[in-house]
Symmetry: D3
Subunit: 248 residues, 6 copies
Amino acid sequence: MQLHLSTWPEIESYLQHSKAILVPIGSTEQHGPIGLLGTDALCSEEIARRAGEEGGFLVAPTFNVGQAQHHLAFPGTLTLRPSTMIAAMTDWANSLRRHGFERIYWLNGHGGNVATMNAAFAEIQHGSSINPGHENSPTLRCSLRNWWELAGVSETIRELFPVGEGNHATPSEISVTQYLFPQAVKYADFPVRIAPSGPIFDAEDFRRRYPDGRIGSDPTLANPAAGKRLVETAVHSLVREFRNFAGA
Amino acid sequence: MQLHLSTWPEIESYLQHSKAILVPIGSTEQHGPIGLLGTDALCSEEIARRAGEEGGFLVAPTFNVGQAQHHLAFPGTLTLRPSTMIAAMTDWANSLRRHGFERIYWLNGHGGNVATMNAAFAEIQHGSSINPGHENSPTLRCSLRNWWELAGVSETIRELFPVGEGNHATPSEISVTQYLFPQAVKYADFPVRIAPSGPIFDAEDFRRRYPDGRIGSDPTLANPAAGKRLVETAVHSLVREFRNFAGA
Amino acid sequence: MQLHLSTWPEIESYLQHSKAILVPIGSTEQHGPIGLLGTDALCSEEIARRAGEEGGFLVAPTFNVGQAQHHLAFPGTLTLRPSTMIAAMTDWANSLRRHGFERIYWLNGHGGNVATMNAAFAEIQHGSSINPGHENSPTLRCSLRNWWELAGVSETIRELFPVGEGNHATPSEISVTQYLFPQAVKYADFPVRIAPSGPIFDAEDFRRRYPDGRIGSDPTLANPAAGKRLVETAVHSLVREFRNFAGA
Amino acid sequence: MQLHLSTWPEIESYLQHSKAILVPIGSTEQHGPIGLLGTDALCSEEIARRAGEEGGFLVAPTFNVGQAQHHLAFPGTLTLRPSTMIAAMTDWANSLRRHGFERIYWLNGHGGNVATMNAAFAEIQHGSSINPGHENSPTLRCSLRNWWELAGVSETIRELFPVGEGNHATPSEISVTQYLFPQAVKYADFPVRIAPSGPIFDAEDFRRRYPDGRIGSDPTLANPAAGKRLVETAVHSLVREFRNFAGA
Amino acid sequence: MQLHLSTWPEIESYLQHSKAILVPIGSTEQHGPIGLLGTDALCSEEIARRAGEEGGFLVAPTFNVGQAQHHLAFPGTLTLRPSTMIAAMTDWANSLRRHGFERIYWLNGHGGNVATMNAAFAEIQHGSSINPGHENSPTLRCSLRNWWELAGVSETIRELFPVGEGNHATPSEISVTQYLFPQAVKYADFPVRIAPSGPIFDAEDFRRRYPDGRIGSDPTLANPAAGKRLVETAVHSLVREFRNFAGA
Amino acid sequence: MQLHLSTWPEIESYLQHSKAILVPIGSTEQHGPIGLLGTDALCSEEIARRAGEEGGFLVAPTFNVGQAQHHLAFPGTLTLRPSTMIAAMTDWANSLRRHGFERIYWLNGHGGNVATMNAAFAEIQHGSSINPGHENSPTLRCSLRNWWELAGVSETIRELFPVGEGNHATPSEISVTQYLFPQAVKYADFPVRIAPSGPIFDAEDFRRRYPDGRIGSDPTLANPAAGKRLVETAVHSLVREFRNFAGA
């Protein structure tokens, strides 16, 4: 059940039996020579949508531009300042709280979002925590889950790509988008099969270290069949995890 | 050509021959008993996508939560504070400017966004305007266009719905989503065919005046065939308008 | 009745019978070769003051610097960032709400303010709309009115200046300030009688397109008698409109 | 010479021979039973205007709502948050700097503004100070002057009101507005001639301690003749001081 | 009693009998050729600590970076923007209010902090003052005290350093740090015994006027014995003043 | 070498041979029945100070109040909003960059700071990354290191406290403060030896789940000798790590 494909009376009904919602969150940033700029948003959006259908729970629109400052030297990357992202996530959460939601499960598709998301959670809670005497109002809980850490997914990744998974523009995430968007499978020459690894500093330095955008990965391993397996595993676990969270 | 389904080298190539991009922008807010919460984002997203295919230009991901404060009394509505929306639009625009884009065409799906969008444009320009000696840097131009004001569209709306178009949850926008999302066509009883009209103040007052969320409209007139005609008219005009804007 | 020429006990008395106040708002920005930098603030201030006297209602001090980013290439122009203007208008409104005012009528003198003012209204309302359970507190209503759109004024303008009114530094607003400030009537040579028209982008581009600051207007048509007629028409309508608003 | 009664070409000319401008700044806040809410803005505005005429220098519009948080329990008081005031003063200063002004003399009419104004000066300077390598750009200087501290003014006050001057709603400032606005001279019974003195904490506490709004003053001593003398003394000194500042 | 060397149950006990706390606040900024960068924070921290021991009251951790914009041209200086300092002080105060504290005594070690601190106090109070109907909640009082203005201290300074005290990098504050940190007594050649005096504008200008960082002072007069006397005088007065404040 | 115990000429000299500095960062928050409120700041401050002496590098004052929102239900806890913490860290970093520092090593003492610190790093970098053409300015690198993750430290912790280390108010951090502050060793009855474990949501919920503030730990195991070993191990590793970072 997708919020943006529902009417307000349908949401009013949903709130009669559940106070929980899932928000997919990603990033729009370079993913190397053959990875899509929307990879992180598309993966969490589609895994969430399928799980929402299967599990009968509500899925919000996707928070599709996140924290991608260190990818800015590659065209197409969009980023929020962390302070903007905190303000925007706070507004989304407060809108949901206003309607009676008490559990927000953020399904994340981008490792670089994790820090700012956790900071945003503290900002969201700060408002009520700082006021004495707020103890009786219903509380809001936010939970962050990276899709590749859902039960069984990382094991599947290790099995599929024992070598070359790397850290950015990985064959696993590219496999997922190849499965989901067969019309957008890309090709490129890879003079170096496995990209270099190392630290991340600012945007210019990033492009000097990782000239084609990958970190430690071999995207040529990606294939739609692997993507299908990853999506199915993730969806299966997500249905179960969300149910636990909603009832917690 | 959709940015999120492209790779960064594809965007780098695109920038060789064009500095213009389209950003669809909408809102996630109640649209009456049978209108979808995502109507405003979905309409501009899909019209933009089709025009981008036809016209060979670049379309960014959709800015999908906008300014919907006065719809907050209806469950499912999400809103940014205007100050947050200004910050977020500024970040999107600055990311694009950093890559060399000089023209951003914002295709808007929500009348309630217009004021904050124009405020954001001034905020985006402020940074460079306030500095003496910036005259030689390439300038950025932002343009706002509501899809229902594209050439021919409002005429078509008047022809299709001479009575009952109204101001919110209109048969025209609902027709568009019925055409685009046949799986999400909704039904409801309408004791009153044409909703009341009047002013908008705050959220509680809005729901008291317009108890089912509509303003002045008769959504029962909506039909997929009308939606198809509207989409085709809008796409046709958008291709031409964007081309002019890109070359301006 | 002007707030700044009143004492607090007088305001306390006023609040016994009315919860409505008028705030004049303008801009300090170039108005071409003979228009005053303060035109937009002075027009709304003086029309408001006279209407307040005639109608016996309360007029606040003038919000005299507004949104003038695209005039920054002309000396003397002052502007707030839109985000600052939203914060300041919010502070004014919250101060008034704190005293018990429930209706704020903003009489605007600058078209460029409209977007940011409407954004500010949404920001002002956001605070209470986002909190569940605020339904019982008295609500605040903000209303925006451009003085040239008061009943009868635009008709008078069309009659007085059928040609050459244009869009910026118009003979109508200059007539008003010539009538109000006879000591500040200015003269200049106008090699081109009617200024060019066109779009507005950033500040530098504005000055290149409109080198003397006017858009589409012929300020040589301005005269104090026309100003007198415009002021009287505006004052007359404003008294009636404000009364309706106050009682709404 | 008042900026808002000038045209942009006049300001462009002015900048040929002077980079200095005066900004009057005040507050809109309760001034006891017979003091005007606009006292602080009106005093600095009018002293500045007269000095600008006499000394031939430029005077900006008045920053008319300032820092009045602790007067909020009295109707009619308007206040900015300090953070908003800092943002707005920064925008005014940056607009002036953009045109080439290098000296801003803020003539202040409200003691409660002093702290936030000095904080704003540091915020204004921060932007350039924090960047290495900005040493060659022309610098901006802000100066704060309370009108009652201009040479000769405090001596005159002590002579005129050896007893009962007090700290808020003083006979000196009320004398000035009685002189400037004879149409707005107010009367009230004063059961207590000299108001109590003491500390200032928050707004509610202020009204409990100082029930009619005065602190330590006896406004019944105010008279237009005293106001005339104070204005003339202040104008005289201001012309000289501004000249020194402009040439510094 | 230092908060950071206490446990939460100890603070819970303390709140049974006192609602007052002292926060030392300073700056990290250049203090001339032999003054420590931490002078302002160290002086208030240590005077507060000793008074807290003697008087049995609670001392918070030190707010150690303040407002030092105009010292930025000297290496080692750290500064907050005034707007950041206001936000941070607000967060500290709100944290304390949340636990039940009602009196915060800020012992200040830096004249340049005073303006921003007072602005912060108004920001802290604004939140409750602006809301109608908050009259019944316990109020928070903030008080600012510069350590050199504690009873007896300025007299002692005048006695110890009748000549050469100056305004920045003074022998009195350097004496205090020499007494407190004998391991950090520094030496330098002083071609000019008494530094020049004058106004403060921006950071670059400051270093041009005061090339070694001092203003009007002769730090060679500093000595640990003088520091001892100043600390003891300050501690003695602080114990008494805090007690009065706590009981007010 | 501590910045606050140095003079500005000493920092100027230091910058001749090194562009690197260490900033200790902690939190002021409850640490259970016998842990100090300042634990997190004190541990990183003192480990940093000792390593700075041993390794001859520069240590800044301690950022002593961090992100402690979920501890707010326990008296004495101080917290910044994440957005404030980002602004303050940005100001510290920009001050250092202004002086020529290019490497900032943040030694962290609080797990709850990690997310907001990483968000702050992205905010700090954003300013330069977003501007095209900044490639030639020297770049700033920020690095975050938790003291308990320094080489050898976690191994030592596991050896010292194979059982009962837990997650908050751990015997290891309490051992460190017992060693460093023997005057502040605290005692309490522990009806339950090992505290419960579980998730963290908002402040009220935290206190309900963990009534004495601990999570999963047995602080009775803490002892000064263990603290000594941990400090020595951490200092030893930190000297080496900082040297690598400074030269990177």
